[in-house]
Symmetry: C2
Subunit: 167 residues, 2 copies
Amino acid sequence: MRWEELDREPCSLARTLSVVGDRWTLLVLRECFLRVRRFEEFEQRLGIARHVLADRLKKLSDAGVLEKVPYQERPRREEYRLTEKGLALYPVLQALLDWGDAYMSGSEGPPIIRRHKSCGHAMHAVQTCSECGEPFGARDIVAELGPGAQGEMLPSGIASPKGSTAK
Amino acid sequence: MRWEELDREPCSLARTLSVVGDRWTLLVLRECFLRVRRFEEFEQRLGIARHVLADRLKKLSDAGVLEKVPYQERPRREEYRLTEKGLALYPVLQALLDWGDAYMSGSEGPPIIRRHKSCGHAMHAVQTCSECGEPFGARDIVAELGPGAQGEMLPSGIASPKGSTAK
DNA sequence: TTGACAGGTTCCGTTTCGGAACCCATTCTA
DNA sequence: TAGAATGGGTTCCGAAACGGAACCTGTCAA
C-alpha cells in the first residue's frame, strides 16, 4: 500500500493512521486536549515549522477532528477546537501516555499525572472488555474477519469467521 | 522541538511517539500482533519499501519492542517477535482500532472484529480508571505536573500540583 | 505613518520515502 | 556441477515532506 491510499485500506487501524499517523498530528492533538486552541500557541509550544502546522490543522479540520470557530471579527480570527470526533481520540492519547509512563519515564517518574475528577485519584487507563467488563491484554483476543472485510487480510493461521481459531 | 529530540522531551506522549510515531511503525506492529514475524511477510503484506522496513525493524529492535530470534542456522535466519514491552503497546493499537471502527468504517461495518476469548463476545475496548474502575472520557480528567516535570509544560489555565483545577 | 498582532504563505536546502536493482550465504533442482 | 531459488538485507536515484527564515494581509493603536 502507499501512504496516500491508507484511508482506503480495509483496516480501521490504517484508516485511523491516515488521519493521525504522521509526524506531528498526535502532538498537535495533545495540545488540543490541554486546551491550546490558537495558531501561535501551537507553534510556540511545539516548535513546529509554521507551514507544517498550517497543513496539519487544515487536515484535521477537513477530517472533522477539529473545527475552526471565530473568536473575534475585524480582523476575523479563528481558533481550533476539538469536535466530538476529536474528543473520541482521547483513548489513543491515554494509551500512548500510559506506555510512555511505564517504559520511557526516567527515574524521576512521569512528567504529568492525570487525576480522575470523580474519584480524586491519580490514575492511568485500564482497558476492559465492552461486553464482560474484564481487563484484557493482547493474548486474550482473537481477530476475525468482519462485515467490511475483503481479500486476504489476515495471515494464514489466524481465525476467519467460519474457520477455527489460531493455535 | 525537533523530531530527533522527541525522546528527550519531558512528555510521555512525545517519548512514546519517538518510538512508534513515524509513518510505518504502527502498521508494522499491527502485523506483529497478527503474528507476522518475517521480513518477507511484512514486506508482502504492507507493500513497504524494503529499506524502510529494515530501518523500522532495526529501530523497534533497538528500542526493545521487538527482538530478533533465530529460527534456523545454516543459513542463519532470524525473525522478529514482540517483547513484553512490545505487547504492552496493545492498548495503543486497540484505541486506534476502536476510533477507526467508530468513525472511519463504511456502511459495511468494520473489516475486522475482535473476540474476547474468555467471554466469547465480539468486543471493543472501554477505558476505565485504574483506581475506581469507572469508565472515563476526556472531560473527566485533569492534568497536573508530576515528579518528572520541568519548566513550562502546561498551558496557563491548567492545574498545577498545588494550584486549583482548571475550570 | 509606523508598528504590532494573529494567522498564514513562499522559498530554499536537507531528510526521508518509494521503487527498482543488486548482493550474499546456503540449499534445492536439473 | 551449474543454475536457480530463498531469506534478508543494502545501494542508488528521483519525488515528497520537513525545518527555518522571510514575506504577506487585515486591523487597530500610538
